[in-house]
């Protein structure tokens, strides 16, 4: 099935991630995406270059940003002849964008492209309540003075107000954290295990910064040079002292320390064919081998909201003839520490693997020393659509350092009970 050519990850760039209402409070999605894009363009000498396409998106988006990515391209040094489009698949946006670009390259429909994502939890769109919106539209449609008067008098003082977007599933009314708490309980994920994972994330990210790992993956922005959420000096005691914020009663395990905070940031990844890379003096870091998406029925309560990657990965493994242990590195997005732990428990669970995944044997466990080795979202933060690009660029560089043939697995859960996963292989 690999008759088509391969797409390579050639490099990546992001701006440091900032906490909500932090240094990026006044930056828009377009500002941040432009900054991430421009840094990537500068580092790879792409000024004036016409790329095959730029694909990116944001989860929380203003209606005026219908062409967000194209606008960012026009604000960058790329040739204005570079087409662009927006995608949106919740927290899977960035990785899905990369799947799309890689597929076009593999099919020969494009030679190069940039996949990215951006999100601002600070510069959020504010909308009027639904009831008021409908009444205002009716007022706008009214043709005669009498109709206008009739429409106007229906607007009551109690209709007035503003709404900011909430991190809530529209169909269940529950926040993502509340959903995750149900799954964590189902899999018996302990507070201690979550705090340990969070601690490792901070320690790994801090060590990676100290080693200069991100020097060629990041452009400082608005005075930030490191992810603002990183707590290099946090301890298991400090994490253990935080009160729980999701889940009920004494069984609650999820805290602000083992859940990702709301964050602002942007990322972008450069992909291309081998020929295009050679023509531009660029070296492939890793091949984009495969991608898979999955969705689960979380609405009926049949499955946990963030468990779709647990289904996507085995399907992709089967297609590639690989086992879960055939990877040198694993990047499992830390929406919550409990997400990573529940997913790994599910893969180790014989009953889940037999009944839910239809497998003869469990997928088994993964070596924790190969998981999120330069930290992940718990430490870096998680500007929804920007996480995919952060992980892809990080993993591609890590695999390249390991040497040709090294394999890496990416797993990202997304709102709406969805998941996007991918395989990279060192070039």
């Amino acid at each position: 099935m690999t008759t088509h050519r391969r797409a390579a990850v050639l490099g990546g760039n992001r701006i440091p991630f900032a906490r909500q209402f932090g240094p990026y409070a006044e930056a828009s999605n377009q500002d941040m995406l432009t900054a991430a894009l421009e840094g990537l363009v500068a580092r790879h000498g792409l000024a004036g270059e016409r790329l095959g396409e730029v694909v990116a998106g944001a989860v929380i988006k203003h209606s005026r940003d219908f062409n967000l990515t194209r606008e960012a391209v026009l604000g960058s040094s790329l040739s204005p002849d570079t087409p662009a489009y927006d995608v949106q698949q919740a927290c899977g946006t960035g990785l899905e964008a990369a799947v799309l670009v890689a597929n076009k390259i593999a099919l020969g429909q494009a030679d190069s492209g940039i996949a990215g994502g951006v999100d601002s939890a600070s510069d959020a769109p504010i909308v009027v309540p639904e009831r008021l919106r409908r009444k205002l539209l009716r007022l706008n449609r009214a043709k005669t003075a009498a109709e206008r008067a009739k429409a106007a008098v229906t607007i009551r003082p109690t209709d007035l107000g503003v709404q900011v977007p909430a991190n809530t599933e529209p169909r269940t009314g529950m926040s993502m954290g509340q959903h995750m708490a149900l799954t964590a309980e189902r899999w018996g994920v302990t507070r201690e295990a979550q705090d340990e994972l969070a601690l490792a994330s901070h320690q790994n990210l801090a060590a990676a910064y100290d080693a200069g790992f991100f020097d060629d993956l990041m452009t400082p922005y608005l005075g930030l040079t490191r992810d603002q959420n990183l707590r290099a000096d946090t301890t298991i005691e400090k994490l253990g002292s935080l009160r729980t914020v999701f889940g009920d009663g004494p069984g609650a395990t999820m805290t602000a320390g083992n859940s990702t905070p709301l964050t602002d940031g942007a990322s972008a990844v450069l992909l291309g064919s081998q020929e295009w890379a050679e023509e531009h003096g660029l070296k492939p870091l890793a091949w984009f081998v495969d991608g898979e998406t999955a969705a689960v029925d979380y609405v009926s309560g049949d499955e946990g909201l963030l468990m779709a990657p647990a289904y996507a990965v085995p399907r992709m493994l089967a297609r590639q003839g690989l086992t879960l242990q055939d990877f040198d590195l694993y990047e499992i997005h830390e929406a919550f520490a409990a997400t990573v732990l529940s997913t790994m428990k599910a893969w180790e669970d014989e009953e889940f693997c037999r009944e839910r995944l239809g497998l003869d044997a469990p997928l088994g466990s993964i070596d924790r020393d190969t998981l999120n080795v330069t930290g992940s979202s718990l430490a870096a933060g998680h500007p929804f659509a920007a996480t995919g690009g952060r992980i892809l660029a990080t993993l591609a560089k890590l695999l390249h350092e390991k040497g040709s043939g090294a394999r890496g697995l990416v797993s990202i859960c997304a709102a709406g009970g969805q998941g996007v996963v991918a395989i990279l292989e060192a070039a």
Binding site: E26, A27, T34, A35, E38, G75, P220, Y221, L222, G223
Partner: protein, 283 residues
Amino acid sequence: MTTETLPSLPTIGPLLARAALTARGRRGSEVPGRTLRVENVRVDRHRLAAYQRLTGYAVSDAVPQPYPWVLAFAVQCELMTRPDFPLALPGMVHLENRVTTHRTLDAADPLTLSVTAGSLQPHRRGRTLDVRLEAQVGEDLVWECDSVYLSRGHGTDDAPRGDTAPDAPAGPATVVWRLPDDLGREYAAVSGDVNPIHLHPLAARAMGFRRHIAHGMWTYARTLAALGRTSLGPSTSRVWFTKPVFLPSSVELVRATTAGGDVAALRSRKDPSTTHLVLSLEA
């Protein structure tokens, strides 16, 4: 020539008030040879972001080419309100500006700004004054700017003309901007230039204008921003302010690329024969 180092950026409001109160008594044909400088000027990122949003730049660390002029405006006011300064600041008209950026300015760079008043020259409609602004980072000159202002008064009909503006590009508009009535107030808030001629029709009428007008430095910045990222890097832009932009109004951008770089003009949407500014940009 004396150089005086101010302890910090002066506050503009009181200076403009002093300028208004002392406008009548100013006379003379000699500009004192004086440079005012302020060291360690830090860019306030909130003000910069507000400026970037209002002038069409992306919010980023790259300081727009006209911004050091905005930072140094208070120093210019200070220089022009000294008792021995011969011209009245109120009513002075910005005619031309030439800015060279030697390297991309980062918002984190601590700047040393200096302002030097140059000589007076005869002009058809009064006298012109050259003012030189410089920005240094450490010992490096990173940005320099020569402004020409007109002090309206008895003109000299046969006064030599300075460099004339290049012809405004012909052709269709590439961008249309609707400039709102409160643009001057908005820009005053982010730039500190609270000159009354930009704020309200009545205030402008008192100064001899039909209505309030847009800040020239806004129209300049908005036009530069529309030309892309070139002016964020090493480059030189020149602008000639030819006709004021009354508020509110609609203006359109016309541009052309020549061998020497970009040429752009801002003209009235209602009357395209009215050119508000002509700008050239080369990298």
